[in-house]
Amino acid sequence: MIFMGRKQALIEKALGEGALPAAGSSLYKDAMARLWRNKAAVVSLAVLSLLIIAAIAGPWFIPFNHEDPDWSAFRAPPSLESGHWFGTDQNGRDLLARTLFGTRVSLLVALIATVVSVVIGVSYGAIAGYMGGRIDQAMMRFVDVMYALPYILFVILLMVIFGRNVFLLFAAIGALEWLTMARIVRGQTLSIKQREFIEAARASGQSNTGIIFKHIVPNLVGPVVIYATLTIPEIVVVESFLSYLGFGIQEPLTSLGTLIAGGADVLEVLPWLLWFPAAFLVLLLLSLLFIGDGLRDAFDPRDR
């Protein structure tokens, strides 16, 4: 809800500003009504809000933190009496605290990477679409080629360089994740630039940069928001994947991927160390997926 509220406001603003003349506000209302009728999306919104609230506020309400051991409870199975609802790990650290902390890190990382990918993807796609002709062809050819590269290899190399600077690193992941965004934005730009208000802006002497960033980009908010919601789970998975391989988040920080990697090693004897972080990850991915799909269906009902 925290994220969604702002995004919806942005969509409303963009649509209100004449993205779709005449029917502007009613189309938005239509879309929201469709979204509310989509039960999977509504439930997912609730689940995601709960997860986010728990990840942000949860750690303050738990008597344990994610790094200090409880000397009286090592490898304790989950139980309500001991206060370790999710059990503890081999070092006596409370798994609930660690899972919430890990969710927080995973979400934060995904958010940073998504913002970076949105900034690059939108600028790149809008410029390519607006300039058209040879520039467009060359720019999109480059995107096609990048698609074919095993970018995860480059991420692993960047990992090696940035080492422990997690946030810089995930900015780097974002810098490699913008390709689909660029394609979508370019497609939208191609249709927007035919519209009268762009011609009017050009006639009134706006520079190309001004037209792209003041007139085209604000009209792209709808599709960009929708696709960004679908990018977040992808990046959560990439982060977990890298952490699993040992390249990502490292102690004393933790993330869902790191926790799952640790849990997988001891699955036979301490199964809860895998199940709880895995459940959080799957819930997070499921709800983001349903929200993204729901938003897309709501704004673009053709596909259904």
Partner: protein
């Protein structure tokens, strides 16, 4: 057609060059070197090593040496496993990676397309719902989560399949790695096929075929499937590169001696030659696969050829 293929082949050369160059300099900028151990090496030995691997020359010169060797097909020596050249190590790992990856690739295409057809034919009935659940789990369950769970269930509890290792290439050792690798792609391909098939089955020419009295099987397999396959074919290029990514995890988890493990170890140990060699090899593989996909695509859709 040949002309088209040739043009596409030429366009991959600058890509390779840029990627190799980027990779080369990124690696050298990274702190640490291949000879940093727990115990520092004696100065004389370090100097000899640096001289042997050309590390004492200016970076630009090292780069030129590397590229000129590359043109002669020489990937250079491995910095860590000093008894083997990079090419030798790649050849050792290659069969494992190709076998597991290739089987997973083919299986995900075949099963994915069949499942997608079934979903579109039985749309909104029981098989379709089953497929929906399967697709969803393929999309949200990452391979590093599926793998340990399958290992626990089938390897440790039921004892039907080995938990890992190569086992001399016996069939049972393949089952789990291939399943884990193929699962997300079966899901994606069947989703693409299902969507495209539903669209195709609603088009006018299918109605014409129906009214001509053609059998259902013929309509689905001959008339609807070919246009429905284009999105699937265009997914295969990216799929190949996702498969490679997946093989990093699968090879690590199941302890397979493929190239993915070499890459991870080499990146961790700053084995410059080995990292570059693996990246070049992976890129060649993916570029070739993409080229094949493009050619198939051009064959399916003649409009693409003349673009």
């Amino acid at each position: 057609m040949i002309n088209y293929a040739f043009r596409r082949l030429l366009s991959t050369v600058p890509v390779l060059w840029v990627a190799i160059t980027a990779c080369f300099f990124i690696l050298r900028l990274a702190p640490g070197g291949p000879f940093d151990g727990e115990r520092p090496l004696p100065e004389a030995i370090r100097q000899n090593l640096n001289a042997y691997y050309n590390l004492d020359k200016p970076l630009i010169e090292q780069y030129l040496i590397y590229v000129s060797n590359l043109f002669r097909g020489d990937l250079g020596p491995s910095f860590i496993n000093q008894d083997f050249s990079v090419a030798e190590q790649l050849l050792i790992g290659l069969p494992y990676t190709l076998m597991v990856g290739g089987i997973a690739f083919v299986l995900s295409i075949v099963i994915g397309i069949l499942a997608g057809i079934a979903g579109s034919v039985y749309r909104n009935r029981f098989p379709d719902y089953l497929l929906g659940v399967f697709i969803l789990s393929g999309l949200v369950l990452p391979n590093f989560l599926v793998a340990p769970i399958l290992q626990l269930v089938f390897g440790l509890q039921l004892k039907w399949l080995p938990v890992g290792g190569w086992g001399g290439g016996s069939l049972t050792h393949f089952v789990l790695p291939v399943t884990v690798l193929a699962l997300p792609h079966v899901a994606r391909i069947s989703r693409l096929t299902r969507g495209a098939m539903i669209e195709a089955l609603h088009s006018n020419y299918i109605r014409t075929a129906r009214s001509k009295g053609l059998s259902d099987a013929r309509i689905v397999l001959r008339h609807a499937l070919k246009p429905a396959l284009t999105p699937v074919v265009s997914y295969l290029g990216p799929a190949a590169s996702y498969l490679l990514t997946g093989s990093l995890v699968v090879e690590t988890i199941f302890g397979l001696p493929g190239i993915g493990r070499y890459f991870i170890n080499a990146a961790l140990n700053r084995d410059y030659g080995m990292v570059l060699g693996t990246v070049i090899f992976y890129m060649l593989l993916i570029l070739v696969l993409n080229l094949l996909v493009d050619i198939v695509y051009a064959w399916l859709d003649p409009r693409v050829r003349n673009r």
